[in-house]
């Protein structure tokens, strides 16, 4: 258990709780003659969250420092895949489903393991085309097709 993470999280939850409390004071406090308005529920919850996060902060001081065995985290592949996913999401609508999915899958397959380039190419091509065909032609759904300028 990372105590630092708990403290940062507790502070953030406290901020969120307080923001919800402030936010709910701007909401109307009654609706259609009822005394109970849309502000009650978030106001309660915000206060409970704030109280709980204070308790969490307090608990983080109590718990003893436990140094767990530090496992080596694979940051490099993770960052590449994360960035690839982000790019995939942002380009999906401009470049269309098939192209972006194909590129995304190929990049990720190769990031996971630098082998089997041909299989990776085939699998990513099959996946993107098959999903697109099944969803758009068989199930009559909509997905961004090809780049708009084509």
């Amino acid at each position: 258990m990372d105590i630092k993470f708990d403290r940062i999280a507790a502070t953030m939850f406290l901020v969120v709780g307080v923001l919800f409390i402030i936010g709910s004071t701007h909401l109307s406090s009654s609706s259609y003659g009822s005394k109970v308005g849309p502000n009650i529920f978030p106001l309660f919850l915000g206060s409970i969250l704030a109280l709980l996060s204070i308790r969490l902060f307090y608990e983080s001081f109590q718990s003893k420092r436990q140094e767990g065995s530090k496992e080596k985290l694979q940051y490099k592949p993770f960052l590449i895949i994360f960035a690839a996913t982000l790019l995939y999401i942002l380009t999906l609508e401009t470049f269309g489903y098939i192209i972006t999915t194909f590129v995304f899958l190929f990049v990720c397959f190769q990031t996971m393991e630098r082998t089997k380039i041909l299989t990776s190419l085939i699998v990513s091509a099959c996946f993107s085309v098959a999903v697109y065909y099944l969803y758009v032609n068989v199930l009559k759904g909509t997905l961004p097709s090809w780049p708009i300028w084509l």
Binding site: M1, D2, F5, A9, V16, F20, G23, S24, L27, S31, Y32, S34, K35, V36, G37, P38, I40, F41, P42, L45, I48, L49, L52, S53, R55, L56, E59, E71, L73, Q74, P77, F78, I81, F82, T85, L86, Y88, I89, L90, L92, E93, Y97, T101, F104, L105, C108, F109, M112, E113, T115, K116, S120, V123, F127, V131, Y135, L139, G141, T142, L143
Partner: protein, 508 residues
């Protein structure tokens, strides 16, 4: 109409060709999900919601809901069957409810009895599945008849109890679990308030007006979170798959495991009904029970067949038992059932006491399909266990990126918005960090699903009483629920103070 008539009607629905297909696909994927370590029933079901939503798009709403829930429930109980396979063959549980199965299952496999262990697990799961279904049929009507008399105050307190039960058992720290629950409830308030029509916490962003979509959050936190975990904590070790020889158990083995299966089914069922306690706890307790009443307890841990039969029956029974509060009260007791409930609500079907009257087709169709699904699982699992064991060897190189691609496709297909995809990615990141630091995720999803209902009942109750909060304490049933809620949260804390170990439910 009597229960039998309803059930026959239900079978009529479940036996439609496409519903048979849905049940089959559901249990098949469920078994695969159970076998694959890293994807639990929760992320499996969450991932499949958007896919089923697009497949059932062409059907009329109620039929679409029936077919979708048949498939998704199939994934849920199918995973319970599949989880045993890896526990026995690889000593790595496919999901948390099969952890205890590794104790004796792997020992049996080492002694060359993998076949008997697998088939006993399948038979036990099947028997448990049928037992719970019968109990579900018998209990569903009376329970929903009671629940229908509940007013908003009782409902509010009951839901509070449900949330408290799940949070109390969900992780190492009750504070963290409660924080996650409250966050889920708060997220649910974003969007247009459906009582007064006022936009809350939307900051004039049009995308936020419809509220935070539960599907995006669930897929992100569960599926993507687990994917990121697998990428970051890649382990290279290759384990050897145990050989499967004779598949059918001997007569003695069957005889030996009959009683444990029966006990496991009944115990699992009752644990399953309790909110918060799920399949993991059920399998754990039934293992302890078997060890306690066994004539030679020293055999446990060295390959006793009762140590496989009992927990495997119990976890399947619990997954069936968990359907009862979901279907009759509209209160999910675990993360997976919360996701199932969210799926039903996407189709505008509200689980709860009125489900059996308003949508008998959905309720009874689901129950009947669970009979059929269990038979399918038994037939599938006995001869095909070797094929399923092969799934474990799916290279991660291809599996992991495909899960990301499926998540993105699914969320985009349902939401058609890049913003939701960005939220999905952010949730994936959050899901990884939160669960790594012991913040349980299931309570958050539960809060998100139950949020609008809790709020509506609270405000309805307060409107009736004209803003008087004492109403919750003066109505006896509501007071009883509140006292139970309080006890549920306080007893573990008190026990911890006395230095006792508290059993927690990792599955959520």
């Amino acid at each position: 109409m009597s229960i039998i008539d309803y059930l026959i009607q239900g079978f009529g629905t479940a036996l439609l060709w496409y519903n048979l297909l849905f049940a089959f696909v559901g249990v098949l994927i469920g078994t695969a999900v159970g076998v694959l370590p890293g994807i639990g029933p929760m992320s499996g079901v969450a991932l499949l919601i958007p896919v089923t939503a697009s497949i059932t798009g062409g059907l009329p709403p109620e039929q679409a809901a029936t077919s979708a829930i048949i498939l998704l429930a199939g994934v849920y109980y199918g995973a319970m069957y599949g989880g045993s396979t890896t526990s026995i063959l690889l000593n790595t549980p496919g999901e948390s409810s099969s952890v205890v199965t590794t104790l004796d299952g792997y020992q049996m496999a080492k002694k060359g009895r993998a076949g008997s262990a697998l088939s006993i697990a399948a038979i036990g799961s099947f028997v448990a599945g049928i037992v719970t279904l019968i109990a579900l049929i018998l209990l569903a009507k009376p329970l929903s008849n009671i629940a229908i008399k509940f007013g908003p105050a009782e409902y509010f307190s009951l839901m509070l109890l449900g949330l408290a039960a799940v949070s109390g058992l969900a992780g190492k720290s009750v504070t963290k679990a409660l924080i996650m629950t409250v966050c889920g409830l708060l997220l649910a308030t974003i969007g247009i308030d459906n009582v007064s029509g006022i936009a809350r916490f939307t900051f004039e962003v049009p995308w936020l007006y419809q509220g935070i979509e539960f599907l995006t959050i669930a897929v992100g936190l569960f599926a993507l979170g687990e994917v990121f975990k697998t990428i970051l904590e890649k382990d290279e070790e290759e384990t050897e798959v145990a050989r499967i020889n004779n598949l059918l158990p001997s007569k003695e083995e069957l005889k030996e495991s009959a009683a444990p299966i029966a006990r496991g089914s009944i115990l699992g069922f009752f644990i399953g009904i309790l909110p918060g306690a799920g399949a993991t706890l059920a399998s754990f307790f039934s293992y302890i029970l078997e060890k306690k009443i066994s004539k030679n307890p020293e055999k446990f841990g060295t390959g006793a067949i009762a140590g496989v039969a009992a927990p495997e029956s119990a976890n399947n029974a619990a997954s069936g038992g968990a359907m009862i509060p979901l279907l009759t009260l509209g209160i999910p007791g675990s993360g997976t059932t919360a996701i199932l409930m969210g799926a039903l609500m996407m189709y505008n079907v509200q689980p709860g006491p009125l489900l059996f009257e308003d949508h008998p087709q959905v309720a009874w169709g689901l129950i009947a399909s669970m009979f059929i699904g269990n038979v399918m699982l038994l037939v599938l699992n006995l001869p095909l266990v070797k094929v399923f064991a092969k799934i474990i060897q799916t290279p991660k190189q291809f599996l992991i990126p495909m899960i990301i691609a499926i998540s993105i496709f699914g969320v985009y297909a349902v939401q058609v918005s890049t913003n939701d995809l960005l939220l999905l990615l952010a949730c994936g990141l959050l899901g990884y960090f939160l669960s790594k630091n012991d913040y349980p995720i299931a309570p958050l999803v539960l809060g998100l699903v139950l949020g609008p209902m809790i709020e509506n009942n609270l405000r309805r109750a307060l409107t009736i009483s004209n803003g008087d909060y004492s109403l919750f304490f003066t109505r006896p049933i509501s007071l009883a629920f509140l006292i139970l809620t309080f006890l549920w949260l306080m007893i573990p804390v008190l026990m911890k103070m006395r230095g006792k170990q508290v059993v927690i439910n990792v599955e959520g």
